[in-house]
């Protein structure tokens, strides 16, 4: 009997697994770019909006904001890019994969679960980061909006946002019963909360709307990103990061409780 006949135990083979993860990320990226309409819409949406908003109101100031709207929209839309990729698009994609039986097929392949999920998450994080870099470039070279001024805090906020909204995206995908419902359910929740949370116009602190949207993570990620981008972080920024992280933990909890590989077809 050769060595290959002895069952090898464990699903993690250390550093030798990393090239497999990278390969899988490569195929995830390939799948994303092979659908050019989807790719352009995903990445281009925030760029189109930032061009419109920066062109029309970048010098506008509001009395409850220490910066002008030009300094607000670039980081706010960077936060939006993170949330859109890691929550909205990821959740819809996960529901579709599950309902098409793609998750089940990969589950039955030798690709370990951790490797598959890591590749999917890293793929969407890459797409989110492409949007962030693109927006920062448009801001800097198109409208002379410079930042981030607090690079460390900005990167921390992005990291917490990427991880937390990925967890929330997977979490909400587990409660969507079928592929037809994925777009309406996820996008409705997301775009309403995004609008109310101050993406298109800053919400006045202490207002009823600010109190309402303060229960949800979107406003907190926008505020933390704007603060760190403009170098005006304070203790409230840490509070924002904490709220986003708590929502991320809720996403992890829901995902672990409700995850299914098979189609629900509900």
């Amino acid at each position: 009997m050769s060595a290959t006949d002895v069952p090898v135990k464990g699903s993690f083979r250390g550093a030798s697994d990393l090239p497999l993860v990278a390969r899988q990320v490569g195929f995830e990226q390939l799948a994303f770019w092979l659908n050019p309409i989807g790719a352009v819409l995903t990445i281009g949406f925030s760029v189109v909006f930032i061009v419109i908003f920066e062109s029309t109101s970048r010098h506008t100031t509001v009395n409850y904001l220490p910066i002008n709207l030009g300094q607000y929209y670039i980081p706010a839309f960077a936060a939006y890019g993170v949330m859109a990729a890691c929550f909205n698009v990821l959740a819809i994609s996960m529901v579709n994969r599950r309902e098409m039986g793609l998750l089940k097929r990969l589950r039955l392949s030798p690709l370990p679960t951790w490797m598959l999920l890591a590749a999917i998450f890293v793929n969407w994080m890459i797409i989110a980061l492409i949007q962030v870099v693109l927006l920062l470039a448009v801001g800097r070279f198109g409208y002379a909006v410079h930042g981030p001024r607090d690079v460390g805090m900005f990167l921390l906020v992005l990291l917490v946002g990427l991880l937390s909204f990925t967890a929330m995206g997977v979490g909400i995908s587990t409660v969507v019963p079928n592929a037809d419902a994925a777009g309406p359910v996820v996008s409705l929740v997301f775009f309403i909360l995004v609008a109310l949370s101050g993406l298109y116009f800053p919400v006045k602190p202490g207002s009823g709307l600010a109190t309402f949207t303060g229960f949800f993570p979107i406003r907190h990620l926008i505020l933390a990103t704007v603060d760190s981008f403009n170098g005006i972080s304070d203790t409230s920024t840490w509070h924002d990061i904490l709220v986003v992280a708590i929502w991320g933990a809720v996403g992890v909890f829901v995902s672990l409780r409700r995850w299914e590989w098979s189609p629900k077809r509900g």
Binding site: S2, K9, A31, L34
Partner: protein, 335 residues
């Protein structure tokens, strides 16, 4: 059998490719599989036959390690498929063709096969698989551009790309046209001839007869019969029907053995002693210079056996239900 040893347990002892003993699976109070036992030997093509909801797919998913069982003992290639510590290894040795199509639409045929080939330590060459599944001209086409039958063939390709020791085929020819079915059968025969063990679920009797070395019939979540396709349910022992066109000018009463008119000028003889009856009949025809046009000997079909088994079981269960006996049928469930 290829040189590579197949299906040994952790002590290196040769074991069946699949071993199932008293397997059960329940979802709450609903029983999906009840006390199922069978073995699949290495290199064998084994078919699980049964109506929808009989428990075929649940049984196969437990063997693949996709679903946990509620009771019983199961071994796939010598390991417990529910043991998470050996699942990664096990999945390098098995191939799976799912009941429903599951292929990403934007990849090309070559890309999706190349991706999956990378998951296995000893995959088949991608081009070889593309040729085997008959998609040579479509190799660089996007999956979404393929017809349903071509996508189904690609699904089969994904099942064999890892060069598996054991291949699970869950209704692999559903949705294929007749030529696609025949090509898939040829592929399965080719794999079996090279030593691959195949566990097949199907509704098609002709598929079982064409491919399977042995078959088990699942009905009401349990195995009601098993054997070779030619002998299951006493098929090889039952009566046969001898049928031919009655020669012109000959009355049925003139035949050397009693026959019944079967319409269209044909007669039928039902007998369990076909050798003697054929001897008498052909002797009479030769002596009298009669031609027995369309002479055929028909054994009871696998479909007849299958329907007899399943309808018999259904009737027995109905009687038990009416008598208020212990054999209350389980609720049929699809997980």
């Amino acid at each position: 059998m290829p040189a590579r040893a197949r299906g040994r347990d952790e002590c290196g002892v040769d074991v069946p490719a699949v071993s199932v003993e008293h397997l059960s699976k329940s979802y709450g109070t609903s029983v999906a599989v009840r006390d199922v036992s069978f073995e699949v030997q290495k290199g064998e093509v084994f078919a699980l036959l049964g109506p929808n909801g009989a428990g075929k797919t649940t049984t196969v998913e437990i063997l693949e390690g996709f679903r946990e069982r509620s009771g019983g003992r199961v071994q796939t290639l010598g390991v417990d498929p529910a043991d998470h510590s050996t699942q990664r290894w096990l999945r390098t040795r098995i191939g799976v063709v799912l009941q429903e199509l599951a292929v990403e639409p934007f990849y090309s045929v070559r890309q999706v096969l190349s991706r999956n080939a990378g998951y296995y330590p000893n995959p088949r060459p991608v081009d070889e698989v593309i040729e085997l599944i008959g998609l040579g001209e479509k190799a660089d086409d996007r999956v979404k551009r393929l017809s349903g039958g071509q996508q189904r063939r690609l699904d089969v390709g994904l099942g064999i790309i890892g060069n598996p020791d054991l291949l699970f085929l869950d209704e692999p020819t559903t949705g294929l046209d007749p030529s696609g079915r025949r090509e898939t059968w040829e592929l399965i025969r080719l794999l079996a001839a090279s030593g691959t063990t195949v566990l097949l679920t199907t509704h098609y009797m002709d598929e079982v007869e064409a491919l399977a070395d042995r078959v088990a019939v699942l009905f009401g979540q349990e195995v009601v019969a098993s054997g070779t396709p030619s002998s299951i349910g006493g098929r090889d022992l039952g009566a046969v029907t001898i049928r031919f066109r009655l020669p012109e000018g000959v009355a049925p009463e003139s035949l050397p053995v009693p026959a019944q008119a079967a319409g269209d000028g044909h007669v039928e003889i039902h007998t369990e002693d076909e050798v003697r009856v054929l001897h008498e009949l052909t002797g009479w025809a030769l002596a009298g210079g009669h031609r027995l046009q369309g002479l055929s000997v028909l054994r009871v079909s696998l479909e007849d056996i299958y329907l007899g088994l399943t309808q018999g079981m259904a009737a027995r269960r109905a009687e038990q239900r009416e008598a208020g006996g212990a054999g209350r049928p389980a609720e049929q469930v699809r997980p």
